[in-house]
Amino acid sequence: MYEILEIKEIAKETYMAKVKAPLIAKKFKPGHFVIVRVHEKGERIPLTIVKADKREGNITLIFKVVGKTTLMLSRMSCGDSLADIVGPLGNPSEIDKFGNVICIGGGVGIAPIYPIVKALKNAGNYVITIIGARSSDYLFLEKELSEISDELYIATDDGSKGFKGFVTDVLKSILEKRGDQINRVIVIGPTIMMKIAAEITRPLKIKTIASLNPIMVDGTGMCGACRVKVAGEIKFACVHGPEFDAHEVDFDELINRLNMYKELEYQALEKYLGEKSEK
């Protein structure tokens, strides 16, 4: 049913998969995500839609291998089918003519930032994109992003490409020079990175949007697993988000909740790898 039309490794531990999903493709807007179940006994995991082809009826996902589900997905081939895919979920990103916008994608966060950069550019904004990863091996979509961004900056932790350091360091140096000209910052990546970015923009009072990635189950507002605290209120990221005002998000709580199943997830992965090596 949900056939994989194409799947390939595009960077270290990072894969791109094109999946048949005509109804979802038709409704796609930047910022939307889907919930995927790889096999009949599988978990439901959220992945952002990077691209959609309405005519061909397919969507493109980019994912990083971090645990059992993403590992299994990476081992699937063209022609295989996913057990389930449902969406589009979440609210689309707010796209408008803001003026000068900085878009930041850290790690696999480069994938979800791509459709936003594209839409903001189409809406007539001046878009400065900052992407970063551990090293150059982990970078992807550089070419595509450089084509649609007015400025593109790259940062790597080890300096193997671009600026040596974090994307937030680049953000800081841009804001030091041109902070008063920036109308909005959008940041997607590891939670700690989004937290630091929010701290940088807070004193400058630049509206900053973060796309949160809490653990989800149904993705439709039924379980509350994805709850986050925003401006002191409980919000469900899957239906009220996933994008929120970064200055109001309780990131420490989110970081804590993301680690909740760490040991159990490791156990599932170990078991899977054990079974694979026995064969």
Binding site: L23, I24, K27, R37, K41, G42, E43, R44, K68, T69, A83, D84, I85, V86, G87, P88, L89, V217, D218, T220, G221, M222, C223, G224, A225, R227, V228, K229, E233, I234, V239, D250, E253, N256, R257, N259, M260, Y261, L264, E265, Q267, A268, K271
Partner: protein, 449 residues
């Protein structure tokens, strides 16, 4: 009724109530007085002809008994198991004035299981020109019931479900030990066999809109339930190991977390679990947690007498070692390094009765106390699912978020009908089935070509 032995209950999710065999059922059926103007029938939301099916049962005419039930109730195997009979059919039974009422639910379950085993279906009825094309949104009991009655009258029916399994609360909420998943699957298979189409992974309002559906269908029935969990915003609510009952039960029932790591979805149960609430949902959570090896306490702010849960389920929970603490309400959840360490409660006393007729709990100042635990589950109710009203402004809701309907179960949007928990707020399976049935007949009456 025979039950699974206690040691087996605590080690598995197998069904606890084992049901009657033919001999037991016949014996129980003998007790019915065959009342002339049977009060039990009026008290059943589906108006099952109870004395008639019981009479046929005791005469050994099981197939005929099955047909009598199926005229009114598509899912006797389910209702027989989960209806609160003590408040419905059985509470009205003439025998209840002098002793035990007839065990109508158990008898209905017996016939329901006979129907599934022998694959009994009523022949389709073609009322002139009923051949409507109907979309059902949500595959809970309301949606399934509407699908059954429409399909039985030769309408073309498609059911759209957001999740990856069909059945609504019957599969994601009510645990296997009360309602085996097999039963729900078989009922859905029967509907498929009668021509109802089922499509999973479609969120109406997101994947397709109600308007788009109306372009291809004569009418839509909305049975999206009350799936939005209530969570208390007290300090500590967002610590790890604090669950809504819905998340806890979805992980266990829908995602099979009790079979982790054979299934991939994990759950953290810990050694000591506190469940906050006093309804059927609280009992289900507590009994699941017991089966996963935890020491479980249900904390309820009123007393045992006011608990809304069914007696039978409270008894089952007690037998399985669930502890109860009454007249206490949570003030904050205490954490350490982000993990739950305990809950601080305040003691309550009962005041005057409130709107619901139950005595209102009032906190006693200065009576705070702490109970240690490593998992907390909130089972304090669910609200109507807001997804469709939010994306379909034509469909109006009341102040509680329930979809407003007229006497034909039609919403404020023409050709769109609704029923079940989305209309009434969290209620019962049989009321949802009754709503689906009523809406089905309204659709045929109002739109039948």
């Amino acid at each position: 009724m025979r039950k699974l032995p206690l040691d087996k209950r605590l080690r598995s999710f197998d069904e606890v109530a084992l049901g009657y065999d033919l001999k037991e059922a016949t014996l129980e059926a003998q007790r019915c007085l065959q009342c002339k103007d049977p009060p039990c029938v009026k008290a059943c939301p589906l108006h099952v002809n109870i004395p008639k099916f019981i009479k046929l049962l005791r005469e050994g005419k099981l197939k005929e008994a099955a047909n009598v039930i199926l005229e009114q109730n598509p899912f006797p195997s389910i209702c027989g198991r989960v209806c609160p009979q003590e408040e419905l059919c059985q509470s009205a039974c003439a025998l209840s004035k002098i002793g035990e009422p007839v065990a109508i639910g158990r008898l209905e379950r017996f016939i329901g299981d006979y129907i599934l085993e022998n694959n009994i279906t009523l022949p389709k009825k073609t009322v002139s020109g009923n051949k409507l094309k109907i979309a059902i949104v949500g595959s809970g009991p309301a949606g399934l019931s509407a699908a059954y009655f429409l399909s039985m009258h030769s309408c073309e029916v498609t059911v759209f479900e957001a999740l990856h399994e069909f059945g609504g609360v019957l599969v994601y909420g009510i645990p296997n030990f009360r309602l085996p998943k097999e039963i729900v699957y078989k009922e859905i298979e029967r509907l498929k066999a009668s021509g109802v189409k089922f499509v999973k992974n479609v969120i109406v309002g997101k994947t397709v809109t109600v308007k788009e559906i109306l372009e291809f269908y004569d009418a839509v029935f909305i049975g999206t339930g009350a799936g939005l969990p209530n969570i208390l915003n007290i300090p500590g609510t967002n610590l790890c190991e604090v669950y809504s009952a819905n998340e806890f039960l979805i992980r266990i029932n829908l995602m099979r977390a009790y079979k982790f790591p054979n299934y991939d979805t994990p759950i953290k149960v810990g050694r000591k679990v506190i469940v906050i609430g006093g309804g059927n949902v609280a009992m289900d959570v507590a009994r699941c947690a017991r089966r996963l090896g935890a020491d479980v306490t249900i904390v309820y702010r009123r007393t045992e007498k006011e608990m809304p849960a069914r007696r039978e389920e409270i008894e089952n929970a007690k037998e399985e070692g669930v502890k109860f603490k009454f007249l206490a309400s949570p003030v904050r959840i205490i954490g350490e390094n982000g993990h739950v360490k305990g809950v601080e409660f305040i003691r309550m006393k009962l005041g005057e009765p409130d709107e619901s007729g139950r005595r209102r709990p009032i906190p006693i100042p200065g009576s705070e106390f702490v109970m240690e635990c490593d998992t907390v589950v909130f089972a304090i109710g669910q609200s109507p699912n807001p997804l469709i009203p939010n994306t379909t402004p034509e469909i109006k809701t009341n102040q509680w978020g329930c979809i407003i309907i007229d006497k034909n179960n039609m919403t404020t949007m023409p050709r769109v009908f609704a029923g079940g928990d989305i209309v009434s707020g969290a209620a019962t399976v049989v009321e949802a089935v009754a709503d689906g049935k009523k809406a089905a007949f309204s659709m045929m009456k109002l739109l039948g070509k």
